[in-house]
Symmetry: C2
Subunit: 357 residues, 2 copies
């Protein structure tokens, strides 16, 4: 559609006037009328502009090659909206990109749905959309379609984002838990628990806590590409360790494959500040969400090549082999602790950290 | 992933217990842990089950033919969640299906993101997911991937749904405002304003109002197929008339093409009960949202064939030719009223009806 240009009154005939200096979202921004158009044309489209989005049709249309496609969706309700290392906009783009990447897909096109609470500062929306645009450029994807809704005060917490994405599967990637066999090695692409703890500490700032922690939120498509370029056929499983943390992924893997996983705690990369913050808050860092880390299961013979590939990329410089898949068929994930004890890693029960993503 | 089966205590060893008789959503349902798995395995997957969804991977993977693909997203915040003729689940599926259909695409795969307010009755969630499943079956699409988040009381209004979808473009369809030329005819696929007014009257029920109005929410892919099968090359533009109503679509069309549209009010189908309700509420029915109606622009010579095709389908039995595109280049949409007057149809300014979809 054509831009809705506010026309200054010339004292005669037809004119479209915009309310000057509007600073906050009002219910009418969600009505599908002129104010919705102003929101889209004034704030969203200029920041995300690309030929597919610019049509502003109800759907984006693009060419696809014959092959396999991945399709994913996630909702984002993180609180606060801005935190060290990122914000809800970056999170929404990266989370969706990462879900596609760990399927072995090259992420291509994203959609974004916004639920805005009446009264939200338009400057906040501008910052979030700017951040989406930056993250999309970083990830090499385009945001091609979207939607906005407005709800009354007290019916949302400022701003929720939902993003979906599609990507084209690499023909050389063959990923799935069914390919995991005893002897395979378990890698993690870097330090754990940074996202969840950075967000938690940001919340606690109200109480005067300070830290240098930053969320690890980042688009992992490039890092996954490095890994698959190096040893595609020997990479058998990838999963980003978001809600539920590293523990969630490892416990799931053991449960689904039925094999015992053995993990060496001393090999799990964790920043000292993150470990300290987790201890202070009484959290197990393995349960805490990451937004820029994945678990890879690779054939034993390819583990070194896989690690080299990961470490050659800035987002994988601290990648580490943390354990292996064993032949025992009890579906448990056991961790050898730093002091030499053993404990079972379980899927976290419920909500360690509400609204972390 | 494998189902998480609650295991009854046998007084020894490992066991997974579920909290019996849980009736409402708690924050921990959103944590990505065992309770999230119970929500998904206990309520969502059984209702939407299909081979792609059942993998419960972070993304669904499927084959696509080479060609053009459409991709769309929408958020749904309708209030109340249930209304005569539908509910938020049916709305989310149909809305996304319809956005794809009016692009000339055959809808294929949908995603669903749920934002749940703490305290939501699980029975409500069951009903909504049941309704999604029914609508998806009716539309011939599969819900293949999804996400759930939980926010605290007072941070949502019970339940919001975001759905995205992908579809494959019909090679014979060539739709777009750029194809519209003077002489083209404007059709509407049936009665207008039923959805918005049915929802509004449902809200007003608290005040003792009653009506027989029902939302028109329905998946339009089949009806669009009938039309395109009959005269694909002569159909130049389709748009579903949702937020902003018929007026929004017509004003946009005039504005974007730059041509004058002339509409005959006597030809616009509207149910008497709907017209009465609109008058009572002081609303222009042309501004009111529909969820099962589209506007079609067709070549003049194909108008009769197009109408026959539409009327041969149950969802298009009241389709009508309502006007035409003229040669005057003023970008206005003019309506000849029932009493023979003339008025300009404008895009509604803002929120006539908040949270209608």
């Amino acid at each position: 559609m054509k831009p809705v240009t506010p026309v200054l009154s010339n004292g005669s005939g037809w004119e479209r006037t915009s309310v000057p200096h509007r600073r906050r979202v009002v219910m009418a921004h969600g009505g599908g009328g002129q104010l919705t158009a102003e929101l889209i044309e004034g704030i969203i489209r200029p920041r995300l502009s690309n030929p597919l989005l610019d049509t502003l049709d109800d759907a984006a249309v693009f060419d696809v090659p014959a092959g396999r496609m991945a399709f994913t969706t996630d909702s984002y309700v993180v609180q606060p909206l801005f935190f060290p290392g990122g914000d809800i906009g970056r999170l929404a783009v990266c989370g969706t990109v990462n879900d596609l990447a760990v399927c072995g897909a090259t992420p291509r096109y994203l959609s974004v749905g916004l639920i805005l609470e009446e009264g939200l500062e338009l400057d906040v929306l501008r910052r979030v959309v700017d951040s989406m645009a930056e993250a999309a450029a970083e990830a090499g994807v385009r945001i091609v379609t979207g939607d906005t809704k407005v709800v009354a005060r007290g019916q949302a917490d400022r701003l929720y984002v939902q993003s979906s994405g599609v990507g084209i599967l690499r023909p050389d990637a063959d990923l799935g838990v069914h390919r995991i066999v005893p002897g395979d090695r378990v890698l993690v692409s870097g330090t754990v628990a940074d996202h969840g703890l950075a967000v938690m500490l940001q919340r606690e700032n109200a109480f005067g806590m300070e830290s240098g922690l930053r969320s690890d939120v980042a688009p992992l498509a490039g890092l996954v590409s490095e890994l698959l370029d190096a040893c595609a056929n020997d990479v058998v499983f990838l999963r980003d360790a978001t809600r539920g943390g590293l523990a969630g992924v490892l416990a799931d893997l053991a449960d689904i494959t039925g094999y015992r996983l053995t993990i060496d705690e001393t090999c799990i990369p964790i920043r000292p500040g993150t470990a300290y913050a987790a201890e202070m808050l009484g959290l197990d860092p393995l349960d805490v969400a990451n937004e820029g880390k994945f678990v890879a299961v690779v054939r034993a013979g390819a583990a070194d090549a896989a690690l080299r590939a990961l470490r050659s990329h800035p987002l994988g410089s601290l990648a580490s082999e943390i354990g292996s898949v064993g032949g025992t068929r009890d579906g448990m994930c056991e961790m050898v602790t730093v002091v030499g004890g053993r404990r079972v890693i379980q899927k976290p029960y419920g909500e360690e950290l509400p609204r972390i993503c």
